[in-house]
Symmetry: C2
Subunit: 114 residues, 2 copies
C-alpha cells in the first residue's frame, strides 16, 4: 500500500509529554491495523521546543534524526544528536528530546510493541 | 541508547533482490537484539538502480521516502513515489522499488516481524 504525503494526518501538539512549545506530527501511515507497531510519524520541533521526558514499557520507540540538532535525555544521560543519528528507547527506559539549534529538528519516530 | 551516524555499518549490495545496479545500505542500528523488528536502514539507490520484486511473509516492511523519485511495484501495481510518501508491504504481499529520477532515491526501510 502507498500513502502519499498529502493524504497524511497532521497534528500540532502543545507541550507534548510536558515538553515546551509545539510538536508538529505527520502520521506516515494509519498504524491502527499494523501488527506489533503503533506509530510511524515524522516529528518537527521548532527551535526551543521539546518533547518531555517519558517512559516506554512493553514497546520500543526509535528516533531517526533527519535534520537539525538537539539534545536527547537518554534514560538519564544527555547527548547531542544531529542528522543521521538514531535513538533507541525501550524495555522501560525513558527519553526526551529538545531542539537546541536554530532550524527545525525533524525526525522519524517509530514505535514497535511487544 | 544513541547510535551516531559515523558508528553505523554500511553495506553496498549489487543487484539486491535481483534488482539493477547497487544499493547502499546504512544500518541505523544493530537490530539483532530488538524485539519484533529485524531491520532499520537508510537505503540509497542511484539513478537507474533498483531493489527487485520480493515478498514479505510474517513481517511488514515500511519504506519512508526521504528524497528523490522512483517507481514502486506494490503487489503488482506500479506507483510513482516522492519525498514524504510511505510504502507498506506485509502479510505476504510483494514489492520492488526503482530510482527513475536523476538524483539518488533515499528512503528509510523498517521491517517489523510477527
Amino acid at each position: 500500500m502507498i500513502v502519499c504525503r498529502n493524504e497524511m494526518k497532521v497534528e500540532v501538539k502543545e507541550r507534548m509529554r510536558d515538553g515546551e512549545g509545539t510538536a508538529r506530527i505527520t502520521y506516515l501511515l494509519d498504524a491502527s491495523a499494523e501488527k506489533n507497531a503503533r506509530m510511524f510519524a515524522e516529528v518537527s520541533l521548532d527551535p526551543g521546543c521539546s518533547i518531555g521526558y517519558h517512559q516506554h514499557e512493553s514497546e520500543t520507540e526509535y528516533y531517526f534524526i533527519l535534520s537539525g540538532t538537539g539534545t536527547v535525555n537518554d534514560d538519564g544521560k544527555e547527548f547531542q544528536v544531529k542528522q543521521g543519528d538514531s535513538v533507541i528507547t525501550g524495555n522501560g527506559a525513558w527519553h526526551g528530546i529538545k531542539n537546541t539549534g536554530s532550524v527545525p529538528l525533524v525526525f522519524h519516530a517509530v514505535i514497535v510493541t511487544y
